[in-house]
Symmetry: C2
Subunit: 327 residues, 2 copies
Amino acid sequence: MSSAEKKNYWVGLDLGGTKMLATVYDADFKPIGRRRRRTKGTEGADSVTARMIRTLRDAIEDAKLTPSEVSGIGIGIPGPVDQEKGVVLEAVNLSWENVQLAKLVKSELDLPVVVLNDVDAGVYGEYRFGAAKSARTAIGIFPGTGIGGGCVYDGQIIRGKRNSCMEIGHISVTPEGQLCGCGLRGCLETEASRLAISAEVAKAAYRGEAPYVLASAGTTLADIRSGILAEAIAAGDKVVEQIVRRAARILGTAVAASVHLLGPDVIVLGGGLVEAMPELYIETVASAARKAVMPSFVDTFKVVAAKLGDDAGVLGCAAWAQKTFSE
Amino acid sequence: MSSAEKKNYWVGLDLGGTKMLATVYDADFKPIGRRRRRTKGTEGADSVTARMIRTLRDAIEDAKLTPSEVSGIGIGIPGPVDQEKGVVLEAVNLSWENVQLAKLVKSELDLPVVVLNDVDAGVYGEYRFGAAKSARTAIGIFPGTGIGGGCVYDGQIIRGKRNSCMEIGHISVTPEGQLCGCGLRGCLETEASRLAISAEVAKAAYRGEAPYVLASAGTTLADIRSGILAEAIAAGDKVVEQIVRRAARILGTAVAASVHLLGPDVIVLGGGLVEAMPELYIETVASAARKAVMPSFVDTFKVVAAKLGDDAGVLGCAAWAQKTFSE
């Protein structure tokens, strides 16, 4: 920064399938303005990007700033991006393909814009301000409908030549396993995602083995969410605990593979499942991972719960903009 | 470099279980002096390090230089190292543990010394001068008695907090598989190393199904080396080809895991097995890897044979010293 009076405000926007959230931060990353809006993905890319720009303007106004006082914007996207070009390669939930997002936002707000994958943003947020602070190598894993992953290595978000990587959800864990949404078989996420757990629990409920679940959510996958799973375990649905633990153990073996390849010091687990039953889940993953790594790696890593919840993504976006545009 | 007349010679030393090789390079990494010596590991760490220092001095003399004209030394070690401290954490073949190698060599030659893992050095050599030149993310895999791996990301050797990582040989490929030397079960190297192939081929030879192998090497594992395997395939021992292809396919699935996590653009395969049958081996690995990655990754990487043979390690050591001490 050349000028002593240089503005130092950063904006993060986390674009989700149902809502978007923009937050303006000061130089110490204290939030000073925010705006939330529905995504309305079905209205198409032009409409969504217009709503994003409006949300950014609103958040900046909420912070009592003008765009010209902002140093840069980071935007997190649910899908692979080309960070260098600022292009969203794909966002399945939004039916986006090759959207020149950075260019578009830049042309409207005349500010530096960086686009990144939303999971990468979440891991970067936890690395800068949360559970993985100051880690040399931080891996983040977020089991939900799928299983997202990201890695911050030596202060950098690891990415492939063209786009984001750390697709830990598609590591093979069962050679002749169930078909995955990606077209492969036996991927980690077909066996261990929250959705996979819900499907097994629904079967158990149908068979009468999970009475709490049957009474409170029936056998509808969409209703068997993380909170219900935690309640069912507390209420004594033993089979639900067994199903969750099995999924966590399988995830632990994938964690072991990532330890062998990347030697992380911290593995952060986040998302609804982890928030609903942090101890049971984290302990089971950690113990399975330790059993599946070489002796020399056993004491090299810790497995911890994410700390920032939904803020991780938007904070990570803003902090990544800061790193990108002020170094 | 402050002085315009600054010396610009770099020395690499690759320490193996049976021999060590030191080479002196000029600023363009042309070799201008070298020395080879037996390791004699059984004589203990003091004796081996004394031989290393003599070998370095001899190579520098062979280049018609004095140590004071050399800019730095890189030393590759068959085991995990703490790069920051220049300590060899362990070298099983040499019965070394916590050897303060950088300090020791520095005190004798009064030169900057960097210590790195030998596989990392080989991958870095291929990245700087060989088959992975200019890759953004290069992964190197060397199937031999075990299966070594290394990764160069954005010009840096990837490493864990304490030591080298990329232990691809210990990724689990068969959950209830054979016991591995590391104490785990079903590691990639128990299923797909050259040693694993030799053991399966010995069984086949014993059963009379590999007549060429039986006639030329018998059923002694130490004699069933890569060259014999290649000759046997050429001579029509079908079962040998099947065994090699199966091992290569299994290695391909581990490659797929590394593609999902790291999104490499180049995967370099090296070592005796690859040198003895490059086409058959590389093609089988590549095709198995492509079948096991998500569609969006299929065209993002290539699988190639290493180009530098035994020179990769020593070149990588010298080049890493250059990177470490002149940046």
